[in-house]
């Protein structure tokens, strides 16, 4: 076995065994890390692989969460059916945005601003959409927390942790397969130089649409998880531009376009953020805003001194 596969096996073993020695708090932190790792991976398919910068991925999280959440809230339909509605809606939205943008030749910064505009438009629309509770939010029934009710995705923190771990592992596997597939090579060609790729006969429009559809579908699943994990949905929160920024921080800090960047970036950022909270608490510095100022400086330092993210230099050092 190669060094890489041994390391991966060790990492997998640690993550599977984590609940044996982690309390509920540590488990919730780990679940959050995996949530951002998975969602970051979904964003990475579009930006890291195919080079299409989306700054509005909160749109897909929100629509996915509201689709599955509303089915459950109004009709008692469980998340396994709601998941398909969420995916279908998000893929349709992604394809609509992609079609409009790519057909009209919108790329780069303009494409990024278009994705923000759609997310903001949807946020305000949901604020005025009474069926999902409007700005007052939608609250899912919280059932008993000690038994595993897989049909309704209700259970103890352990269940959510393993669900997120499975999703992250699946996404990693899927992305590895995608990167080594014809689509993956076409995406990378489009990312590096779209004109050159097209002159070689790659139908850039179709492959970019595929990237958007896959990314939207994966992010829809994050939304369904979000709805049933947190049980309350507010348009102001779930569609907020700062949610979109959170999603992309992990992969950008970890390494855009790499397989392990999103996981590493999400872990580093969450741990740094918690570390800052603890350190400031120990020093008795509890001024509102001070934590985010430190966090901002960490981001600044990473993006300045590690232009390709943490993973590429780390992988070289570990010879993976």
């Amino acid at each position: 076995m190669s060094r890489a596969s041994i390391s991966l096996a060790v990492l997998a073993a640690i993550l599977i065994a984590l609940p044996l020695f982690a309390g509920n708090y540590a488990l919730s932190v780990a679940t959050l890390i995996l949530y951002f790792a998975y969602t970051g991976q979904a964003w990475n398919v579009m930006m890291g692989f195919a080079g299409q910068l989306s700054l509005g991925h909160a749109l897909y999280v929100g629509v996915g969460a509201y689709a599955a959440g509303a089915l459950f809230f109004h009709y008692g339909i469980g998340p396994w059916a709601g998941l398909w509605l969420a995916i279908a809606l998000c893929v349709a939205l992604g394809l609509a945005i992609g079609f409009l943008a790519f057909r009209f030749g919108i790329s780069g910064v303009y494409f990024a601003l278009l994705t923000i505009a759609f997310a903001e438009f949807t946020r305000i629309a949901f604020d005025h959409f009474g069926w999902t509770g409007g700005p007052g939010g939608m609250f899912l029934r919280v059932a008993q927390r000690d038994t595993w009710d897989i049909a309704n995705f209700r259970g103890p923190p352990l269940m959510y942790y393993y669900a997120m771990l499975a999703l992250t592992a699946l996404a990693l596997l899927a992305c590895r397969l995608l990167l080594r597939s014809k689509a993956g090579y076409y995406w990378q060609a489009i990312r590096e130089n779209e004109e050159a790729a097209r002159s070689l006969g790659i139908a850039a429009f179709r492959w970019k649409m595929l990237a958007v559809a896959i990314s939207a579908a994966m992010t829809a699943v994050s939304g369904v998880f979000f709805a049933f994990y947190y049980n309350n949905l507010f348009p102001e929160q779930i569609f907020n531009i700062s949610r979109s920024i959170e999603i992309i921080l992990g992969p950008v800090i970890g390494g855009v376009g790499t397989l392990f960047g999103p996981l590493l970036g999400a872990a580093v950022l969450t741990l740094v953020s918690n570390g800052i909270t603890d350190a400031l608490g120990a020093l008795g510095l509890e001024i509102p805003g001070i934590k985010q100022v430190f966090y901002g400086f960490v981001l600044l330092a990473v993006v300045m001194f590690m232009p390709h993210g943490i993973w590429p230099p780390l992988a070289r050092k570990l010879r993976l």
Binding site: E120, I124, F297, L300
Partner: protein
Amino acid sequence: MPAADLVANVVVSGILTGLVYGLMALGLSVIFGVVRVVNFAHGEMMTVAMYAATALFAALKLDPFLAMLPIAAAFFIFGYVLQAGLINPFITRPEHSQFLLLVAVAIILSNALLMIFGPDAQSVQLDYQLESIEVGPLLVDKARLYAAIAAVAAAGTLYSFFKYSLVGKAIRACADNYLGARVVGLDVRHLYALTFGLGAVCVAIAGCALVLLVDVTPPLGPAYTLLAFVIVIVGGLGSMGGALLGGVLIGVSEALAGLFIVPSAKSMFSFGLLILVLLLRPQGLLGSRT
């Protein structure tokens, strides 16, 4: 159906506020037009200017129109240093990298404000904020009128600077042809820093003017950033007249949406307009195709 004079009053007030928005967006437009970097910390810089104006008012009873001068000077230095120290090394980096850099700056700015001023809304209270001038059937708020005049004056000064001064022409040369500008011996990095400084001055003046019309809280930053994006895309990124026109359009459409529909839905129109313009005329109303 609201009465005609009410609609006219709302339109006029939308135009005046829109000109202040336009000046803020002009800063973004000038920076993007020359440096080719989207300033994602624009709205946060705007809230910093507004806080600076409220702080100078609280400490020295300084009218925001006078506070404009020291705040604009400080913003020029801040913008110059930000571009020279942080952003210049990023001009050849990919967009997501630039985005993250400016998001980090935005996070630091907005939370520094939270640390210093706390979460409560701040405002200035001056006598003439309650006064208005009667023009026929119209009642024009004095403060709003002065703010719009300041915005137009600042935009006009900037326009003449770019049009007639040697440095302004040099900056336009950098924007038109980066390589050519370097070939003829222009110090492009210095000119980029000057441009960012000038963009920051627009924000400073717009912030001081706007603080007479609305209260300021630390989390307003992203909303102003988005507003500036919408305005410059609608008007045309890099077009100076486009920024003011976009500001007026957005100001009027928001004011009318607030009158005819629910006020909370007003920015939906802005984003709807943005999507339409991006799709139908991506270079913006007054922008030129590159």
